[in-house]
């Protein structure tokens, strides 16, 4: 990702110049001094080219002018829509649209002096998110195909205000990048142990990291999680991450924390209930919930959020083998409730069951939010634009929906109810791990809800089924095709809006 700097407006002597421009509107004042300066320096070439390309500044419009003179290798114009109606999402989208047009430049200057500082920072955020790339395993890429962008200067009238706005955004962008990277890593490289090691990397940001291995889990009685893990040669891990920022110094703890729990199946073959070969390679993404939790903890610590937060991830690999768990097995969860495993490919809920109960027992959090690429049914229900949101608490659900809207990570509330819960009835144990095809995502959520109730009554809880949103099948405004990091920004925003200070 390129370095971002905020600078006073001045025409660059080389590289790319980016002009975010609004639609022309009568009487609307828009500071476009740099555009005028570029026009002058190039003898009017910029204006003439924009006119020839019928560039009007409409949202989503863009135009590249090659080597117009004055040492500039290219000028890129990006439409912002109506002046005065540029929203934070609009600024981010414009930034995202810029990224692919300038990645071949080493340096670029974005003339954002017409935008308020916060929106200029938002534009930098969009650019940063969209410019993310995972190329660790490309060894033969031609030099001319490699992205070269090292530094983007954002020209703004108030650099101090823009920098202040950028600080938390940058932390969020770093968190997203970390989450995406974890998801993008191939499953032979990133197993449970390796992912736990990466979690340890958060210690340098001041996050306390505690790793539980199979021995500890056996002692605790994580029967459901261990059942999933037992088919793999790789040992499972549970990682508990704590950011204690409420006291302001990252040290002392105050009161009850907020808690985030992630499903981290580093590779999901389905186990004995094995998946079809077609598309199985995508199942490296089955730890995207855990990836988002790790990214979120990095974001919170990165911006020194004034909150006490717990992040827990359950890391396992779901493999078929002679030691694998079978359909028909009954496992005992940490809560004491027993589960008849009907389908070994419904393993995520088994992992989460132990974590949810352990989390509420150990931390008594104010609420728990879990993220999981849990069901194919949620993709059939909603597609790829919304994550499924299930909750036993209307206030928490509304806050999550609002935070999601604000950051472009949309959620759609789905129902819970006793009629669905009944589908989990087992003949031999307290419950089955699947409830059949009808309402498949809802019954999965009902399963999780059975691990949420504490002695003191139900704890506010929300479950985000991100199976449809964690991976982009094609380029999105703020993410290239591939892992999206869905959930990091949403939950960072949720905390910032409601649970700090």
């Amino acid at each position: 990702m390129p370095d971002i700097a905020f600078v006073k407006p001045a025409l660059p002597r080389s590289g790319a110049l980016v002009l975010p421009l609004p639609e022309a509107a009568e009487g609307a004042a828009w500071n476009d001094n740099l555009r005028r300066a570029a026009d002058e320096a190039t003898g009017g070439a910029v204006s003439r080219a924009l006119e020839a390309a019928a560039f009007k500044g409409r949202k989503g419009q863009s135009c590249t002018i090659w080597a117009p003179g004055a040492g500039l290798s290219r000028v890129v114009a990006i439409g912002l829509g109506k002046p005065g109606e540029v929203t934070p999402e609009g600024a981010e989208a414009a930034g995202g649209a810029i990224a692919p047009l300038i990645v071949q430049e080493r340096e670029a200057l974005v003339a954002a002096e017409g935008l308020p500082p916060a929106l200029a920072a938002g534009l930098a955020l969009g650019l940063t998110l969209r410019a993310w790339r995972f190329d660790r395993y490309r060894t033969q890429e031609k030099e001319e195909d490699k992205p070269k962008l090292e530094r983007v200067a954002i020209a703004t009238a108030d650099t101090a205000a823009a920098k202040a706005a950028w600080m938390p955004m940058r932390a969020a962008a770093d968190g997203v990048a970390l989450a995406r990277e974890l998801v993008a890593e191939p499953p032979n490289v990133l197993g449970p142990e390796e992912m736990a090691e990466r979690c340890r990397g958060l210690e340098k940001h001041g996050v306390e990291v505690e790793v539980l291995g199979p021995k500890e889990m056996r002692k605790l009685g994580f029967g459901a999680l261990l059942g999933v893990a037992q088919g793999s040669a790789r040992e499972p891990r549970v990682v508990v991450m704590r950011w204690n920022g409420a006291s302001g110094n990252g040290k002392g703890r105050r009161g009850r924390p907020v808690a985030f729990i992630g499903k981290g199946v580093t590779f999901d073959t389905g186990g004995i209930s094995i998946k079809p070969a077609q598309g199985m390679e995508e199942m490296k993404y089955d730890m995207a919930g855990a990836g988002a939790v790790v990214g979120l903890m990095a974001a919170l610590a990165g911006r020194r959020a004034r909150v006490d937060a717990v992040g827990m991830v359950g890391l396992v690999e779901n493999m078929p083998s002679g030691t694998a768990q079978r359909p028909g097995d009954v496992v005992k969860t940490y809560s004491g409730q027993t589960v008849e495993v009907i389908n070994t490919d419904a393993e995520g809920r088994l992992v989460l069951a132990d974590l949810l109960w352990y989390c509420q027992e150990r931390f008594e959090p104010r609420f728990m939010v879990d993220l999981a690429t849990l069901t194919g049914a949620i993709i059939i229900s909603l597609g790829h634009e919304h994550a499924g949101l299930f909750s036993n608490d209307d206030e928490l659900a509304q806050r999550i929906e609002a935070a999601g809207r604000a950051v472009g990570e949309a959620c759609w509330r789905m129902p819970l109810g006793e009629a669905y819960d009944k589908q989990l009835k087992s003949d031999i144990a307290d419950m089955k791990n699947v409830g059949g095809r009808p309402g498949g995502s809802i019954t999965a959520a009902q399963f999780l809800q059975r691990f949420v109730n504490t002695k003191k009554g139900p704890m506010p809880w929300a479950h985000l089924d991100i199976a449809g949103t964690a991976w982009a099948q094609k380029d999105l405004p703020l993410a290239p095709k591939g892992p999206t990091g869905f959930g990091v920004r949403l939950l960072d925003r949720l905390v910032a809006e409601h649970y700090e200070g």
Binding site: Q278, G279, G376, A377, I379, I380, S381, L382, G383, H384, E385, H386, W412, M414, P415, G417, A419, Y420, Q423, R437, P438, G439, G440, S441, I442, T443
Partner: protein, 476 residues
Amino acid sequence: MLRVRLRRAERDGAADPRAMPVRQGAVPPRFARAAAAARFTGGVGQVLDLPGPEGRVLLIGAGAPRHATGWEAAGGRAAAAALACGARRLALDARGLPPAAAAALAAGACLRAWRPDRWRTRTEEAPLAALDLLVDDPAATAPFWARAEAAARGCLLARDLTAEPGNRLTTREFAARLEALSEHGIAVDVLGRKRLARAGCGALLAVGRAAAHPPRLAVLRWRGSFAAPPVAFIGKGITFDTGGLSLKPAEGMEAMRGDMAGAAACAGAMLALALRRSPAPAVAVLALAENAIGADAYRPGDVLATLSGRTVEVVDTDAEGRLVLADALHYARTRFAPAAMLDLATLTGAAVTALGHHRAALFGTDAALLAQVAAAGEAVGEPVWPLPIGARHREDLASDIADLRQCATGRLLPDACHAAAFLREFAGGVPWAHLDIAGAARRAEEEPLGPKGPSGFGARLLDALMAMYFEDPDRH
């Protein structure tokens, strides 16, 4: 439906079982000992069968009902208990209850006692046929019962039609049954092939083309008593759905006789409005066709010109419901300029995957109408849940050759959302709601308000929607 009589007391010397709804913790003193011994407290779902010297008494746990639906469920459980003990006649004791609750009890019993036994020639047990509703004041209860009865009859018409097998309820037979509704004051017009061709209903004609039974567009009108744009119900009426050339697997195909449940629910709602002389004008436009395979069947890849003029590329002949609805929606919109359009359809398996059998999927363009539909559904115990139509869903329908594709291809498709995005194209600017009842139209198992099988979902919802929001002539 059960023959229902409102009476002050049981018939003299009758040996019929008497069902008594009991609120939580309110067991009548004379049954207290027996109830305590059997741990009956009046909780929801509890039933206590007490044969005694005065006859058989069935105590029905009603819990603490806060809405009519609670009483309906109690009435339904009473009927189930009567069925279980082989009674032909049941006395349902609603004395001491408000008239609305009494009416709800009887309605629940009627809904639960329904059975699809038209085609049984040898029934072992005699079915429950009559209900004496015991009330303090029959005259005061009668108007409440009249309303509840109308809705129940509408629902049961929908179930009767849906239960009919594909060889019995052909498109022609369906149309004939609809024409019979004219005895209740509903004007019925059935468009046959020629008129459909003249009008340009290319989608409906294509879907029905391969079948021996021709497609029909049935138009039902209830004038009401004030002049206003009507509310339009649009129903999918595929009398049997083989899937067409995109043939369905054999397993479970028999259930496809119920693929006209949307049209049946709309017809049931019209009957309910007529029976209770609703003042509000309403129309129903029902697209009837059989989706068969044959030498002249429409094919994947075909491009159809719909009634709206818009062209559609067929991708999967088993996504036929949205095609016939496209023509029906356009017809309803242009012919009647309705105040609102609601379509009901057993449209997608995706709706079942999303919401199971307990809720219908709700889509639409008008937030107010969607909220009204949801409220009406809650009021009658036919719950819905909103699902989104996203920008991507519409983008996925871009066609290489026509104005739009009928559906998308691939794995794990949000097909209910795609179908809704497709239909939206034909709703124009009219406030529109789409109910995908693929899951809700059929009960997977017996419930208080009906046996396993067709539920009649939608008829009572639409009736309640009209009563709650469209019967005030000064509304706006």
